[in-house]
Amino acid sequence: MRVNPNPIPDLLAALNRTRQDTQQALLEMSTGRRVNQPSDDPAAAALLIDNHDRTTFTARYLQSLASIQGQFQTADSALSSVVLALQRALTLGIEGANGTLSDVDRTAIAGELQGIQDQLLSLANTSFQGRYLFAGTLTGAPAFVKDNTVASGVRYDGNDAVNTIQIGDGYRVAANKPGSELFVAPGHDMFLAMANLIQAMQTNSGFDPAVASLRDAFDYVSGQRVFYGNTMNQAQAQSTYLGTAKLQLSQQENTLGAADIESAASRLVNSQNATNATLAAVGRISQLTLFDYLK
């Protein structure tokens, strides 16, 4: 059979192919990615979009968790101070109910109770990053203001609204508890209980119901701390879970798009060997013809 007398174009095409293989292997090794453009693996490229979306959402949930954590810690420590203040007030109330005290002593206790009342007001107006934590969603202005027209002397200016924050797919938690539920819930109004105790102290009468209602307010506020504890526990658990999910997503991303370095390296060596061999072969093709022997 007669063969193609000019093999050079074939050899050039072969060289071109091996050089392309070298380039692809080098790209995979340098980027660490098998899928550098959609055409490298269209199905994996489409799946990677979903993977990046879920990774982004996981990062956002973690961010939300971090941001409510600071807020919750501030709120919890404010509540803890409220509980301590109420405890002190309760002690003072029981002391004042002791019949042996003079009017002067009771007046002094009433003054101290008034100081505690002011401290409670300030704690109920705790703010975090410029937002009043216990005002519902009316966070732009203090939640509680002094108002002598109401029995307790303190008026609630917030609302009853609760924000929820998404911390997982379909998983939302309440991000605040309005002051109306914490401090001035009907039947458990701590400002009213305090006002009543101060009045009892000043008039030297009605100690027992005043102390009883203050004790009730104390128990109630103490109980409310559970909300913050629970939510912080949930946030902690969810943080751990999201961390695992993030890891899994990044593993999945690796499976989908990461380069197999061993395979890329061996392809790089193979294609370079092939290039060198082809080049050597081109150099060694005999240029002699029959003409060279005709003398």
């Binding site: 007398p5 174009p9 269209p42 966070t139 924000n163 013809t289 003409f291 005709l294």
Partner: protein
Amino acid sequence: MGSGGMHQIFAGSTDITSSLPAGKLGGLLAMRDSGIPVLEGHLDQLAAGLATALNTAHRGGFDLNGNAGGDLFVPPPVGGVGAAGALSIAITDPSLLAASSDGTPGSNGNLAVLSAVHDQVVAGGQKPLDFYARIVFQVGSDTANTTAELDASQLILQQLEDQRSAISGVSLDEEAANMMRYQTAYQAAARVVTTVNDMLDAAVNLGRY
């Protein structure tokens, strides 16, 4: 230069742009006139759908000042043509972001509505991300197919050229052998002429002796 800033190809004064179905020029024209416009259309559809859905969600809320939310994105053109290129945020003041669902400054209720657009059907009966993933898959698959077809066509071309060269290529060995053959034949023919000449010579001089 034709409509839309596109170049057309002329032979003399005749527009032959549409009569170029193959070759490098044909491929470039097909990509320019049908491939890329289809993809642009998909991107426009996605951008318009997303902007409209987010605008609707945004208008349902209230900004930091308690006013009803406006458009979050500049509304896409009617019909959606050019929506992807023109996509831009309509508000510059962060306090105009309608995060509140009831007008109170601390509410974040409308953010849930905005983020729910992620799972809404916005373009071609699909959620935004699914639609986008489809575009990427389409581009990747088209490119991969074209590359494979190109490789195959190049191999076929190479084989055909090999076959043609095997029949019609010039082999110097063959040419040298042919030259030797023709040279020998020429020498033989010349020898015949010499012999005939000698014979004639002898015949003409027969009577002289």
